[in-house]
Amino acid sequence: GAMGGSASLIPRDLLSEYQELTFLSKQEILLAYKRFSELLPKEERESACFARVPKSNILTLPELRANPFQHRICHVFSTSEHGDDSMSFEDFLDMLSVFSDSATSDIKSYYAFRIFDFDDDGTLDRKDLEQLVNCLTGQGEESRLSSAEMEQLIHNILEESDIDKDGTINLSEFQHVVSRSPDFASSFKIVL
């Protein structure tokens, strides 16, 4: 692709450091840079390394557009001080690194936990799980589970995963469950 031009906009030292610090290869980083700068208005493209992209722009990416966790993903990876979930290029790289193919299952499960933790309290309690199920079953009214089914489902999940029986799932319980899944690493993947 036409990536030759953008290569000159990331300083070489920085590029090699990004390679060192993320699971992405050089081409992937350059492609990420290209896609990121396309989300910016024309005037800001030159300094894409330092600009922040508002959340609404990030969500137009086809990779995130259809994802039910799009808002949570932006929130978790954003380092914005204003709480508007805007992302800088480094946040974007962080996100791509965690979702890349070569990322370890540990770091994926860590961030998956953060993403599923809707109220950001460090554990997955009933409310979080309910919201999670509603995200997964889609927006339509017919596809939602009835409250009885929801109760049963959450009961089953807690029975399986809540080892210390405190009614919530914390990070280590989550990682214990998810690391045994054969599908997790391959489904928790986004490639530009």
């Binding site: 610090l21 081409q27 380092t79 770091i107 889609g138 939602r144 914390n170 990682q175």
Partner: protein, 819 residues
């Protein structure tokens, strides 16, 4: 001002990480590398220290902004008075450094870091001092000032220093595994890199300095090379964009087929490289040219039709008498001015292809087995559905809707199933239905086997009566029937399996198993019928001469006859006398006229090539008709049809993953079986996979819809690999058997004239290696040595199996303890 911004930034960042890791100190923290000296504190040092320091004075904030390495914070927080003073002095000097940079820098920490990089050389002097003092703080207890560059470094300190440098290097290598934000990672990285750079130089002092520096430089260069090579390898992977598009439309299970296809393509490229480069090209360039030997010339009788397209498509005529098939190769020990050992190369390429295929399939299986984790299937059923069912690769809203629907269905089903799992109604009916289904499946398999046998026999009849009397169908009956069976029987199995009422995953396994049995049965029936045909042809010829017709002696007897005929024919050239000690010059005969011996290897090779080609044609036509025309029909005739074609019958087709994967596996089996006899097979297969990739990618995007039941058959990955391995084993059995037990044809091929094909090895050892080598080889191939070796391997297999079992048990015990 800038520093304030950064304070907040890092404060927010750290709060997030605190929350994210939860109340319990979980694994990410424990993995942070620490220097060994600091085992006074637990692994929570890092976060605690950072929190504390934030609440501490402004001065420390300025230092935190750079996020200095763990050691720094630790020593700061547990300051002893002596150290405290030193630290303050250090901090002051560092502040001076940073203030300078602050003024020159911009707002974000990013800028500062960049400028730090740019000015690294300039600041090196100051930084060295700062780093030296930092190193002091790291050493727990040994707060001596002896680390200045001019003073000698003792052995003990050298060792400690080395340790710390190694720790830093490990930190750098694992930095990407840490769940930190990029800013923090960058600063930690830079710091660690500076430390390593500075002290690798210092470590070089003393004994072995030059060697150490050289070693360090080579390691750096090697790592850089490795990284560049990884980048290059990723760039070389073909079809990445295509597969990504399919992934986003259809999810990862459909894409897994294309990934499998691409992997097969890679294997076939290597096999092609071997056969093309080491067998076909040398013979073409350096062997005797076409027309110089009888085996290399089209016989006079066939010359007229040799160039027809029909003959070439059938791989006879000129195609048969070329480097594409076994029969063309001459049995000269060396050819050309390079003294290229052609028969040896042919043999080694054949054996090497098999060996390489085994190695790579086993390696991939082992890798997949590692990834699987080996947990049991049902212990986290609901949790997995909840946490791992969404496929993040989906980028298409329609696919996403399908996925939502399938997730909902799967939740509801799982809930219902779990409630009903106590009820056991009507076991007997279910059992009866399942037995009935298996019986029907067996009948289908037997029927298809018999059909193939019957058809091959018929084709023998046709051959005997001369193929010219029959049309296209009779000529290609066998191949067409086999391909059609491969197309319709799986659908039949699908219908049968609806009787069985299994869980979809189990039903898929049964389906795959039955299709596997079908293809296997077909292939082996085909081979048996082929062998039978070869023997039958020979028998037919012999029936006129009333020789002994034991199956084992058939071919050799046939060859004797032909040899006898040839000597008689030669004699006829000398006007009736059979010269015993002839001194007359041999009469020049055109090679086209010389009578030929039978060449069963080429025949077998031809059959495989024809089978591959017809299979390829069938697949393409099925795609075009079954998918494309159907889609066109549904799309355009929907307007003028009574019922809604798109939702009812026939609607758009779904991509049949398992059928396609099995087809791919079995075709590869045929390639493996036939490539010893027809070196052109890998080339044909490469072409075939290449066009398949493009055709199927286009067909999938254009004519198929995402599957309704999107459930992951990811465990099947290793199942497919296991099947591939099994097929590989079965396919190489015939080739290995022929190499070891059957005498090669006397009149064609690189092994003609030998009693067994593997004799080429002993011949090479005799001529090309020094005599002691041959002796060693002779000793090594002594059964007395080989049997104990096999025994040793069996014992080590048993041992490894036992240890793996004990690990699994220990795993289960730990799991239980956790609960």
């Amino acid at each position: 001002d800038g520093s304030d911004d950064n304070e907040e930034g890092s404060a927010v960042e750290n709060e997030e990480t605190v929350k994210g890791t939860g109340r319990k100190r979980a694994t990410p923290r424990t993995r942070r590398g620490h220097a060994r000296g600091r085992d006074r504190h637990g692994d929570e040092e890092d976060e605690d220290d950072e929190d504390e320091s934030r609440r501490a004075g402004h001065r420390r904030h300025r230092n935190r902004r750079r996020g200095r390495a763990a050691g720094n914070e630790a020593s700061d927080s547990d300051m002893e008075p002596a150290k405290a003073r030193k630290n303050q002095a250090n901090q002051k000097s560092k502040e001076d450094d940073e203030e300078e940079e602050d003024e020159k820098g911009g707002k974000s920490g990013k800028d500062k870091n960049e400028k730090k990089v740019d000015k690294k050389a300039d600041k090196k002097g100051k930084k060295e001092k700062a780093n030296k003092k930092k190193k002091d703080k790291k050493k727990s207890g040994s707060g001596s000032d002896s680390e200045s560059e001019e003073e000698p470094i003792t052995e003990e300190e050298l060792a400690k220093l080395k340790e710390e440098v190694e720790e830093k290097k490990k930190l750098i290598a694992t930095l990407r595994n840490k769940p930190w934000k990029m800013k923090k990672k960058l600063s930690v990285l830079k710091e660690a890199q500076l430390f390593v750079e500075k002290f690798e130089g210092a470590l070089g002092k003393g004994k072995g300095k030059k060697f150490y520096a050289y070693k360090v430089m080579m390691t750096k260069k090697w790592m850089k090379f490795q990284r560049d090579f990884e980048n290059f390898k990723t760039a070389c992977i073909p079809w990445e964009m295509k597969i990504k598009e399919i992934e986003s439309h259809f999810g990862s299970s459909v894409a897994s087929y294309f990934i499998f296809l691409r992997w097969m393509y890679g294997i076939n490229m290597i096999l092609f490289g071997l056969t093309f480069g080491l067998v076909m090209v040398p013979e073409a360039l350096m062997g005797k040219p076409y027309g110089s030997l009888p085996r290399k010339t089209v016989p006079r009788a066939e010359e007229a039709t040799a160039m027809n397209f029909a003959t070439l498509w059938d791989f006879s005529g000129f195609a048969q008498y070329s480097v594409l098939f076994y029969g063309y190769y001459n049995n000269q020990r060396t050819i050309g001015w390079l003294k290229f050992r052609m028969p040896l190369s042919y043999f080694l390429v054949g054996v090497g292809s098999i060996g390489y295929s085994f190695m790579i399939v086993t390696r991939t299986m082992a890798k997949n087995a590692n990834d699987d984790g080996g947990g049991d299937d049902t212990s986290f059923n609901f949790s997995w559905k909840m946490f791992t069912s969404w496929d993040y690769l989906i980028g298409n809203p329609e696919t996403a809707d399908n996925k939502f629907a399938s997730i909902t269905t799967s939740f509801k089903e799982a809930i219902v199933e779990e409630q009903e799992s106590r009820k056991e109604e009507n076991i007997h009916l279910t059992r009866f239905l399942r037995v009935l289904a298996n019986f029907l499946a067996l009948c289908t398999l037997a029927g298809s086997g018999y059909l193939i046998f019957f058809v091959v026999r018929r084709s023998q009849q046709f051959a005997l009566e001369g193929l010219e009397n029959y049309g296209w169908w009779e000529r290609n009956e066998v191949n067409t029937v086999m391909s059609l069976l491969g197309m319709f029987c799986p659908t039949l199995f699908d219908v049968i399996s609806s009787l069985e009422n299994y869980h979809p995953r189990i039903a898929l396994r049964w389906q795959l198993g039955r299709i596997f049995a079908l293809f296997l049965g077909n292939l082996y029936t085909f081979i048996i019928a082929l062998m039978d045909e070869i023997n039958l042809k020979a028998r037919y010829l012999l029936s006129f001469t009333m020789f002994d017709i034991y199956l084992g002696n058939v071919r050799t007897s046939k060859e004797k006859i032909v040899k006898y005929n040839m000597t008689i024919w030669e004699a006829s050239l000398y006007n009736g006398t059979i010269p015993e000690n002839s001194t007359a010059p041999p009469i020049q005969v055109d090679p086209a006229d010389v009578p030929r011996g039978p060449c069963w290897e080429t025949m077998v090779g031809q059959e495989f090539v024809r089978l591959t080609v017809s299979d390829m044609m069938t697949t393409y036509i099925t795609i075009l008709i079954g998918d494309f025309l159907r889609a066109v029909f549904v799309r355009f005739f929907n307007y003028c049809w009574c019922w809604d074609l798109e939702y009812g019958f026939p609607s758009y087709s779904e991509f049949d993953i398992s059928g396609n994967v099995l087809g791919l596996i079995f075709n590869q089996g045929m390639i493996w079986m036939g490539s010893f006899y027809a070196p052109c097979l890998p080339a044909i297969n490469v072409f075939r996979l290449h066009t398949s990739m493009y055709l199927q990618c286009w067909a999938v995007m254009c004519c198929n819809v995402p599957q309704e039941r999107v459930f992951k058959a990811s465990r099947s990955n290793n199942f497919y690999m296991a099947m591939l391995l099994f097929i590989l084993f079965l396919s190489t059995l015939p080739a290995v058997y022929t190499i070891v037990s059957i005498p090669p044809s006397f009149d064609c091929g690189p092994f003609s004239g030998k009693t067994r094909m593997y004799e080429v090895i002993s011949e090479t050892l005799e001529h090309d290696f020094p005599s002691w080598f041959g002796k060693v080889f002779g000793y090594a191939s002594n059964p007395g040595l080989i049997l104990p070796f096999i025994l040793l391997m069996v014992l080590s297999l048993y041992y490894l199996n036992a240890t793996s079992k004990s690990y699994k048990e220990a795993n289960l015990e730990l799991k239980k303890k956790l609960q």
